[in-house]
């Protein structure tokens, strides 16, 4: 496996199955973590990974897909999938499985810390979804995924200066949402 991302993408566009397999193996785990962190649900995260790669394959088949920056493209698809999911379901989306858990919790109480942690995680996710889409994606990629400004700029297709501004505004808003107002 000596291909760069560009070479891999070039091969993938010719429907080279080996390249398409390598792409999956290379990026699926990172995408899973990204999705699981945002969705808080392993089942949905798996679904997001599957759908991301399915859309990627669909695009390749139709001669579309990314011209470059494959990784940024895949994360963008995953992010859009998650955004669509939240848009469709509203803020209740994150509790799809949690509701089941709560039912079971009634019978078999979970550790208290676990419930508190879940509530706090939900609060953070809710705050993240109150940011603008670009602010959210910049925070997620820079803070949680350790992407550089250059990488983020490619992912969101904006100049580096805009990324820095979005990052700053996003953090300011998060600070307001999470620190100034306990009830957010």
């Amino acid at each position: 496996m000596h291909d760069s991302e560009e070479q891999l993408l070039c091969r993938a566009k010719k429907y080279d199955k080996e390249a398409l397999s390598l792409i999956y193996d290379q990026y699926n785990t990172g995408l899973y973590v990204y999705a699981a962190r945002l969705l808080g649900n392993p089942f949905l995260a798996e679904e997001c990974v599957s759908e991301t790669f399915s859309r990627f394959l669909g695009a390749v088949k139709q001669g579309k897909g990314p011209r470059n920056y494959l990784k940024a493209y895949l994360y963008r698809i995953a992010h859009n999938w998650i955004a669509d999911y939240y848009r469709k379901k509203g803020t209740e989306a994150t509790s799809l499985i949690d509701e089941d858990l709560v039912e079971i919790e009634d019978k078999k109480p979970l550790p208290r810390i676990d419930v508190e942690l879940r509530a706090q995680q939900e609060q953070i996710r809710e705050a993240l979804w109150q940011l603008t889409p670009d602010q959210r994606q910049v925070i997620l990629l820079k803070y949680y995924e350790d992407w550089s400004n250059t990488q983020v700029a490619k992912a969101i297709e904006k100049p580096i200066g805009a990324v820095k501004a979005l990052h700053h505004r996003g953090l300011t808003r998060l600070r307001k949402l999470l620190l100034s107002n306990e009830d957010v």
Binding site: T29, W147, N149
Partner: protein, 342 residues
């Protein structure tokens, strides 16, 4: 310039770690991708995005615009005009009613799909939506079986048609699975869905034994998809699984605490070093030097990018064990070329 205070950082770190990825689920996801990859040999062009339960007006257009050859497309357009004329003339109800038994390849089949989507779009009640999805999933299985029994010769493009049916089946089940968590009694809904899937799997398995060789592969793929969903349901209904998931989370937390005696966020990495630690020009780094060179350093950078949230289980998809679960992990694979140091 440090942009984030430690208090905010501490809060945000709460979702930095994610539970361990289930190796079986990861393997299933991988199998789905590779099945889809292989399905190209079957001659299909996936168009799954067009088959969602949203944008149904666009979907009607989609149903009438997919033919590549001019004459079949013209036939479809004429059919569409005739159907529209019939609907306008007041025969809509009869047409829709008549279409309910239409099978793929039949002129009225698009009307059937359209009527299904319309009913789903107008079903406000979650429970109704759930039941409709179950019913439509059953219809798709029936259509697959019928296509195999009646022969594929009467359908213009059997491969493409059958894959579209399978995609719709998958969407109905996916929707049902999602809705099951929202109805009044999720456990009961899950059991109902489970029963339906078991029946569908059994019917397909019976049909596969005598299936047309051209069709057998798709039948097997469909069964695999159904079995995967069944497994998800089994797990959601299994209290032991829930407990295990919670134990894993607890273990993660304990692990985190022991790794960060100074109260640092739980990401002090055990994973391979990422770009920030390996300095610039790391071979295989697809994106260059990482946060260290940025004017606005990311807080995550301080803790090392090996952010190791969910180590991969050994033997998982042939990926390296204990691989860090951040996107950089792929880039750090040896020999991945790349634009390191850019």
């Amino acid at each position: 310039m440090k942009m984030m205070d430690s208090e905010l950082e501490k809060i945000l770190d709460t979702i930095k770690e994610v539970p361990l990825r289930d190796p079986d689920m990861a393997e299933n996801s991988r199998a789905r991708y590779f099945n889809e990859l292989k399905s190209v040999e079957f001659g299909a062009v996936s168009n799954g995005d067009n088959l969602r339960h949203t944008n149904w007006i666009q979907k009607i257009c989609y149903l009438f615009k997919t033919r590549k050859e001019f004459v079949p497309m013209l036939t479809q357009i004429i059919s569409a005009i005739l159907i529209a004329a019939t609907l306008i003339a007041g025969g809509g109800g009869a047409t829709v009613y008549a279409s309910q038994n239409a099978m793929p390849g039949n002129t009225l089949y698009p009307v059937k799909i359209w009527s299904e989507d319309t009913r789903l779009a107008f079903a406000q009640n979650t429970s109704n939506q759930f039941d409709l999805n179950l019913e439509y999933a059953n219809r798709r299985v029936e259509e697959l079986i019928n296509m195999d029994e009646e022969g594929l010769s009467e359908i213009d493009d059997p491969a493409e048609t059958s894959i579209r049916i399978m995609e719709r089946l998958q969407l109905h089940i996916q929707e049902a699975l999602r809705l099951a968590g929202e109805v009044g009694d999720p456990e009961k809904a899950m059991i109902k869905l489970q029963t339906h899937l078991q029946t569908q799997t059994r019917l397909l398995a019976q049909q596969t034994e005598s299936a047309d060789p051209e069709f057998e592969k798709l039948m097997l793929q469909t069964q695999m998809m159904l079995q995967e969903r069944l497994r998800l349901i089994d797990e959601q209904l299994d209290p032991l699984y829930i407990r295990q998931q919670n134990q894993v989370q607890e273990q993660n937390q304990i692990h985190t605490e022991t790794k960060t005696p100074n109260g640092n966020p739980a990401t002090a990495g055990e994973g391979p070093k990422g770009p920030a630690e390996t300095a610039q020009g790391t071979p295989g780094s697809g994106y260059g030097p990482g946060p260290d060179v940025e004017e606005t350093p990311t807080p995550g950078g301080q803790f090392g990018p090996g952010a190791q949230h969910t180590p991969v289980e050994p033997g998982n998809n042939g990926q390296p064990s204990q691989a860090p679960l951040e996107p950089n992990n792929g880039d750090n694979k040896p020999g991945n070329g790349g634009k390191g140091g850019k």
